[in-house]
Symmetry: C2
Subunit: 215 residues, 2 copies
């Protein structure tokens, strides 16, 4: 690994095109290199690592630039409390429209509260998942899917399993900075991983329950 490199080498090592690197520098997502002349700067392996993280947040996580900026800022704040990092990461990767306020007296919100009591989940009122889940349950009901307008035992247990694996991964980190980054990356990529695995398992269970007749 190179410990010091020019812009062209940073591009080569990270696989990120020069115009994109310059854009991230301008937007403040990537910290500036060490200036060596009026037109040149030296970059380090820290820049390579940061570029990978930026691409993961934007390309894989689908975050808008401004949101990625907020998330990276939280990661960069020394000793930022982990609970806040979680909050920022969760809000950042939560579709705003999905997580907007819902009436706490609506059937969906009541069912989410009941699920939390049943599962023994104690969280802050501001948790975006509470509103997100309530809104989805209300949507099922509005569409006439009364049997889906509640949190099934399976969904609740699945969420608990995933969250335990997520936090175990955070717990394996030795510094608060690494924990923070793991929260962000894991929140962004984990949603996609569970959705992808769900598609595989769905087809398998579907083939078992509704086998296609042979022609």
């Amino acid at each position: 690994m190179l410990s010091s490199m020019k812009m062209s080498q940073l591009c080569e090592t990270s696989g990120v095109p020069v115009p994109s690197i310059k854009f991230y520098l301008r937007e403040g997502l990537l910290q500036a290199g060490e200036r060596t002349s009026a037109t040149q700067a030296d970059y380090s392996n820290a820049h390579v690592e940061r570029l990978k993280l930026i691409r993961a947040l934007i390309d894989i996580g689908g975050l808008p630039i401004a949101t990625a900026h907020r998330v990276l800022e939280a990661i960069d704040t020394p000793n930022f409390p982990l609970t806040y990092i979680f909050g920022i990461a969760q809000l950042a990767v939560s579709d705003a429209s999905l997580y907007e306020d819902v009436d706490p007296a609506s059937p969906g919100a009541v069912e989410v509260a009941a699920t939390m009591r049943r599962m023994g989940w104690r969280v802050s009122d501001g948790n975006p998942g509470i509103r997100g889940a309530a809104r989805i349950l209300n949507t099922y009901a509005a569409l006439g899917y009364d049997d889906l307008a509640n949190v099934s035992e399976e969904y609740a247990r699945a969420a608990a399993l995933v969250a335990e694996a997520d936090l175990a991964a955070v717990g394996r980190r030795t510094t608060v900075d690494d924990m923070a980054e793991t929260v962000v990356v894991g929140t962004v990529l984990g949603d996609g991983l569970i959705a992808a695995l769900r598609r595989i398992a769905q087809e398998h269970v579907s083939n078992t329950m509704f086998p296609t007749p042979r022609g």
Copy 2:
């Protein structure tokens, strides 16, 4: 309930603004009403139901118009095989960039194949979840998260639990049309529900593992 209504009543009953209804009619997402004069048409409860479904796909599922169109077309095709409906619904609600092709020899793809063997999941090669999961695992590895570049026992079991609940909901439907609609709606809304519940469970587990010191 009204069995026959004018555009203004359709707007009132469905809660969808008139300009949006006219847009869905033009785009072919909503079937035309029964024409009663040069400028007027009658709409039925079927139109109200369809409008709710369109709003769920677009607002909650975040589908682009063209994709919603494809999905609704599949639902409308009589006796469309359920396996195909699944495929269309899965592809429709899968972010294209997330599910693009990945090298089958890449470590992520190899790990997904190993997971499927371990779980006994037998699915077609075209299942978008296979590529989606492989790509996410490869991204974890590229970011240096070697411990997350595999499918944990918890994630695999969570996906199996969710898929069983999903297919049980499909199995409760009595007509193929209703099954098809349930696949689409459940695929779109279910991803959001599991992500939302994950955020609640994460905060709970986080509070248990990393309690905030009292001030």
